[in-house]
Amino acid sequence: MMSLSPRDRLILTIAIAAVVVVGLAALLIYPQFQELGTLSASVSDATAQSQAAKLQLAERQGFKDRAVETDAKWLRLMNQVPDTPDLPSLIIELQDLAFTEGVQLVAITPALPASEGSFESVPVSLEVIGSWGDTVDFLEALMKTDRGLRITKMNIGIANDATRINTSLKPYSVDTALSIKAYMIPSTTANAPAGAAAPKN
């Protein structure tokens, strides 16, 4: 074996010691640093997820707090625009309205629902007879019913004698033929509150 001078042996020893120290550092410290970096990033992600989940929870808590109010609005909306034609409720409401406003309901003729995109309309022909003032009140009241209605067309004429006799109304009554539309939104899900759109009377 080649003999080294004392100086070279010292240098070799120092080099070996340095290699050992650096090797130890590489084996023990560097991986830890790497893991620490990875963990820090993961902690940031998890914290962000946690914050997002917390916000979502708070938001959903709000939905839960408003659940009773939402159910009540559901019921009103289902009365206004039900998911079926719901003719019984409509007929009852029209009859009540005619009675309240003092006009005679002479005829109701509903047609089959027609699609209008995301909703359907139920065309209904109506005929009422009454005094001019009562008829106007009836027409205005039609716009304020629980069921959302649209008057698309109306023809007002003088009620003839035969009609007047049949309906036992006052003289100078007018005969009004109305075309109205009631609306419905066919339900795609079945989670509407129970009892929605039930007839009121």
Partner: protein, 209 residues
């Protein structure tokens, strides 16, 4: 006294460099200790970070599970909102034709009455009116009532493009309720057409609930 080192140079060198080994050893041990302590410290930090990560994940999962339990309320409200928007579309721009009919009746001159009134959201307004006509043609001013009617109709904000379709002399059966007798009256009969437009006043104030 003079001291002379008679040792050979190699021995002297060896003695001189061997003295350094002690320092090299001490420094190496020191550095190794520092490395080990750093590694231990880092290990503790890594453990803390791992715990922190686990806690954050547990918390996120806990929130997510609680949130999932309330998911049904969010779905219901969203469905309500969607349905409300559709209902709003269906019921938007409803014209209050009853109000327009009443306004037409209010602006008619006293001497004019209607046989018929038709209102259509798209086609507009048409009506058949009558105004009394004097049997003495020399004194007849009835067509002025027709003109007055057109002017007054034009004044209504919901009514535009008022047009007289026809006006002519005719007779109208005046019915008396008490005697149930219809007496013919000389009149000017006229028909009028107009468009109806949407104004804030003519739209139904009722919104989707």
């Amino acid at each position: 006294m003079l001291r002379i080192n008679l040792l050979p140079r190699e021995v002297l060198d060896r003695q001189r460099f061997e003295g350094w080994y002690r320092y090299v050893f001490i420094i190496s041990i020191g550095l190794v200790l520092i490395v080990l302590m750093s590694a231990a410290g880092l290990y503790v930090l890594v453990q803390q970070k791992s715990d922190e990560l686990q806690n954050a994940r547990d918390l996120a999962q806990q929130y997510a599970e609680q949130g999932k339990a309330f998911d049904v309320f969010e779905k219901k409200e969203k469905e309500f909102t969607d349905r409300q928007a559709i209902a709003q579309t269906a019921l938007s721009d409803r014209m209050n034709l009853g109000k327009i009919a009443e306004e037409v009746s209010l602006v008619l001159p006293d001497e004019v009455w209607l046989d018929s009134l038709s209102l259509d959201e798209k086609a507009g307004l048409t009506f058949g009116g009558n105004t009394p006509r004097s049997r003495n043609e020399g004194m007849n001013q009835s067509y002025k009532s027709v003109a007055k009617t057109l002017v007054r109709l034009n004044a209504l904000p919901e009514v535009t493009d008022v047009w007289l379709s026809n006006a002519q002399n005719g007779s109208w059966g005046s019915w008396d309720a008490a005697s149930n007798i219809t007496t013919p009256t000389t009149v000017v009969q006229f028909t009028t057409a107009a468009k109806i437009v949407k104004t804030p006043e003519s739209l139904s104030a009722q919104s989707v609930k």
